[in-house]
Amino acid sequence: MDKTVKKLAIGLLVLVILCPLGLLAIGETFGEWSNEEMQEKLGFVPPGLESLSSLWSAPLPDYALPGSGDTMTMAAAAYILSAVIGVVLCGGFLYLIGKKLARD
């Protein structure tokens, strides 16, 4: 592997370790409200939104372990775990596909 790419990979590792900093940001995100937040804003939940919003239940919703309580330590650990899963699956998948596709 190129030296520069190796250093960039180390940089990514640092980002993974630091990622729980992303949990400190408190606030809402425009257009990503939960049904409860929508109810509060509008006084109702748009019916199409309500039925589609429960279409999929992700195994690790919002990068957290469901039912693990809400201590900051648990949340940070789950967040790092999520980042590791993301790095391994995204990186691994593209590495394998890339190795197959690449030709020199």
Binding site: L15, L21, G31, P46, P47, L52, L60, Y63, R103
Partner: protein, 239 residues
């Protein structure tokens, strides 16, 4: 910027699947033709980096939070088509595994973050760079502007997708079925929080990574390898 399930009605999300499928198909083919072994670790790294950088939520005044995407630098380094693949992989995993972005909205989110961003980022960078030497600071500015504008464009496109919902989908009584806010609210909301917040972060990240690659190994940059070899050869003959 990850649109959840239920915010876009079927007209919009189906239209975006129809738009995205040929884009993915073409991007995959192009990658198959052009990808070099040397770029493979970088491609894997790009998807992983984009995944992680989107987890860094930052607050901005006004009580909103958001994040950078890292898509402009990926477009600049790997080329826009490889960027489509790398960022799409990250977005699909975020939707399926972590519920970040809806399943129905995968194509819409990929269009905004995995198409608009690497393409606008790459071409803005190219346009501002002009024929400036690879090591020039003009290219750093070009990268920063590319990062800044690309995220603002993606935010605008997201705002437009949100804002057309009340026009497209209403019950007989006039109740909105999906995203209830119209264009005059969604576009300024998405655009303002990005141009005064998250786009600045995207610009900084783009410039930092660009400088690092520029200083250490600029032959990694998309389309620049031939140029670099050419220059080395010239240097070799004069020395």
């Amino acid at each position: 910027m990850h649109i959840p399930d239920g915010y876009l009605g079927p007209y919009t999300y189906i239209a975006l699947w129809i738009i995205m499928i040929p884009i993915w198909y073409y991007a995959g083919n192009k990658l198959g033709r052009e990808l070099k072994s040397r770029q493979v670790p970088l491609l894997a790294l790009a998807a992983a980096f984009s995944f992680v950088i989107m987890m860094f939520n930052v607050p901005i005044p006004g009580g909103s939070t958001g994040h950078a995407v890292g898509a402009a630098i990926i477009g600049i380094v790997l080329g826009p088509w490889a960027g489509v693949i790398a960022i799409s992989v990250a977005l699909v995993l975020q939707a399926l595994m972590f519920g970040d972005g809806g399943i129905t909205a995968i194509a819409a989110n990929c269009f905004n973050m995995a198409v608009i961003m690497p393409f606008s980022g790459y071409y803005i960078y190219k346009f501002i760079s002009g024929s400036a030497p690879l090591a020039s600071s003009r290219r750093i500015i070009a990268a920063a502007v590319a990062g800044y504008v690309s995220l603002a464009l993606a935010a605008t496109s997201t705002g437009i997708m949100f804002g057309i919902q009340p026009l497209l989908h209403k019950s007989a009584e006039g109740v909105p079925l999906y995203m209830p806010y119209s264009l005059n609210i969604t576009v300024p909301a998405m655009l303002l929080e990005h141009i005064f917040g998250f786009s600045i972060l995207e610009a900084v990240i783009t410039a930092l990574i660009f400088v690092y690659i520029q200083k250490t190994d600029s032959s990694l940059l998309y389309g620049e390898k031939e140029m670099a070899i050419e220059r080395k050869r010239k240097k070799g003959t004069t020395a």
